[in-house]
Symmetry: D2
Subunit: 267 residues, 4 copies
């Protein structure tokens, strides 16, 4: 398959006219939904963007999933990081083709997936998790999208320390990030970015105190909010309700306390 | 240089304690700021994250710029797309290592830069712009960050049509996106994502009408808002003022009107 | 009763520890809730702020209802105006003790109630509604809170014109406010404020055009958003979801096109 | 004057086409602005809503000030409470014609003004302030709008206790509200509402702890945000920047710990 036609094993996003979405792996099998069954075998060799019909006559668009779709449709047993936050994290961390990044708190793997996508085949994601069930689930989610080989899953509480040094970026998605800051400092390359997500203001305050005590500089705190609109050109308006809070994002850089000596070249 | 030490030609982000930022290319030269002059030559061979001091005694952190920093510090002659929006665009478009994406409306090149970063050395960004001055400025911005070789700058009004076919994603940053939808449909691969940014609700309505008339499906409209906090652990609070609006983001998929025929394998 | 003790006929707000609210009129009767039955007769003569217990052992605070509570707990057959919007409307309109204000589109009466509360016993609210069912429901809601005598309910489509002149303020809560602007201009006192609520951006645009054509000046458009927090001092955080949109508020002043003639006293 | 014509001593809001506002007291005098001088004497006897012209030819609308205008244009030496917050406070507190309310932290008097407006000639506002300069400024502001006779200004730190009992509502606008909760409990009528404004999350947490310890129940925390739009019907869009934070609003009710005894009429 050249990528323009739907092939066996491809992930496809099925979307109803009302916006109900299903992420499926295409193969010769039936896929059951509350809108009726879809014979996925019929999609093989079709063009992306075509319409398929359930046995109950409901039409579904067959779309190429974006990173946004993939992260939203992972199997989850934990709170996942939302796409609105993931996108901003990707901007703030030094992540991209060939980069090596650590994530602490694999959870269900939504950030793992985004990092692996962006790091590319030459990059590397090292993902720490102390709960085996989560680590296995995340691996399964990454395998489904074909990105598991870019990730090293470590079943370990990183409070004992990260095994890596000089990584390009590090993200903490744990309840008590202040307990991991010394370890993060050891693992991260100088001047690079540490990212943290916490839901409460109390955690933000305590984390900020820890950052200052552990050699991190230029700390920033923000929230990302997404407001969706009803896409009706004649009655355009925001949706009635929105997600008002997922978490506070904290970013800081690893500083060195050594000042540049004027005029002398360091060794 | 192995990347852990600051080398000649590296881009560095200098940040004061108060958060004032400067993006500089490191070389043996003086860099003047309102906080005093910095002898950039002294940074050569230093570790990222070190502190340098201006001739007036002000300390500056020397940090590794993230994609967020690079896009914010481009030279601009147009309104740029903000990092909060760029991050979400990267999630929604099919962009990543090896992908081929079109951007229409190069402007100063903030999205060009983000797309080039994410597409990686094996990917390709084709960026259309009808104003030569903008195209040249964007090229200069991309050259400074070393990503220009991933981008093909085209000085052309894409209303005459895009030269490419089957691209993985396409983004329109123009005043009148409804005039470019037929052309975008021709260039984009089926089932893939078109992204659009417009500042007014009237433009959103008119664009949504155009999308429905031109074979695009699953249209979505949203805004991304970023709220920053003062990073003081003992007096944590949102900043007094914020950017309240940059633009509305519209996303839609290229549909094919052909329905999958039940039970027969298409040719 | 002197107002410090709960009396027969008083409205009371019963609130569970989890924040579930009930607005009741106190009398010797049982009030049934999903938390169990409350013998309201037991409240007679008690102090406001006391705790009562349902027959299933659930505790409920017995609180004095605020205007906020009264407007939220009216019986409704239409979308009501939310307290966050009502509060701002009260600030913008010339409403207060002794004022005379018109409302067009009585609906279920939430704004009617707020206006009547603020206008006081010496003020007057004239409320137009073309649907008899709504007008009757609003009257019932106002009677329950004892404010119906401050309101004149008119069953009439105000497109035929308002009967009053020189009112202190006028509010339009109708689908097509542009059809009522000429009439509103006739009724409102010069230099005073017209308020309008509409849910879509298309309605805002059309209304703004109508305002300019009908002698209104200094038009303003805004939205009011309320973000609630979980009131846990150790885990303070915004609630997960919020109301993202109720409507756009438009305010404008009745202008006169006559310019003040310099130096001559007008007749 | 019957209120329909502009009279001597009336407050008028002058507004330029660009939205620049001036609140003036009309009298036979010149009023200087950066748009030129206005001969206020010419306004006497004119209709509200007329247009006047500065000596430099700039036109200004002559409008009737709303409560919103009056609170925004007070003379200030402190941070004032914004109209978006004032409106919601008026909804939550038991304030309206004839009510008696306490405010602690007079500041420049913006809330004092709103409370006095709403309390009407039969109501009463008692406003505590320990800084004489603020109390005098607030009195001056209230005198200018003709509402000072509804207010009792007390120059006293309310930590020593409020002199009143059984007031309908009480508002704390002080740095350390936790130091005033016991006193507020003494002064407020049972089941009625205490309101508090604080800017930081740390203050919110500490206040919530204090409320629980001092007999207050049903605590709620929220923020009110106002987003303004450019009122251009053909290019409708939110303004570029907005006020992102003024303060967190906290509301709670005075509870009594005494439970209603089942079936026995209390004495």
């Amino acid at each position: 398959m050249d990528g323009k036609k739907i092939g066996r094993g491809d992930l496809a996003l099925l979307v109803s006219k009302e916006g109900k979405e299903f992420l499926v792996q295409v193969d010769e099998r039936l896929f059951g939904t509350h809108l009726g069954n879809v014979d996925l075998g019929n999609l093989l060799g079709q063009s992306w963007g075509c319409i398929t019909t359930t046995h109950r006559g409901k039409e579904l668009y067959v779309l190429k999933p974006s990173l946004h779709d993939l992260t939203r449709h992972i199997k989850r047993r934990t709170q996942i990081i939302f796409p609105k936050d993931l996108g901003f994290i990707l901007m703030k961390l030094e992540v991209g083709p060939g980069k090596r990044v650590i994530e602490c708190g694999t959870g269900s793997g939504s950030l793992t997936l985004a990092l692996a996508w962006m790091a590319g085949p030459t990059g590397r994601v090292i993902s720490y998790e102390k709960e085996e069930a989560f680590s296995l689930l995340a691996r399964e989610n990454l395998e489904r999208v074909g990105l598991a080989d870019r990730v090293e899953f470590k079943l370990k509480d990183a409070r004992e320390g990260f095994d890596e040094r000089d990584v390009d970026a590090l993200f903490l998605d744990v309840r008590n990030p202040w307990d991991y800051l010394e370890q993060a400092y050891q693992a991260l390359a100088g001047g690079h970015t540490l990212g943290i997500l916490v839901p409460t203001t109390n955690q933000v305050s305590r984390t900020l105190e820890g950052l200052a005590q552990n050699g991190f500089v230029h700390a920033e705190v923000c929230e990302i909010l997404m407001r969706r609109y009803k896409a009706n050109p004649e009655r355009l308006r925001p949706e009635d309700r929105m997600v008002a809070h997922t978490g506070f994002l904290i970013f800081a850089r690893k500083g060195t306390l050594k000042e540049v000596e004027d005029g002398t070249l360091p060794e």
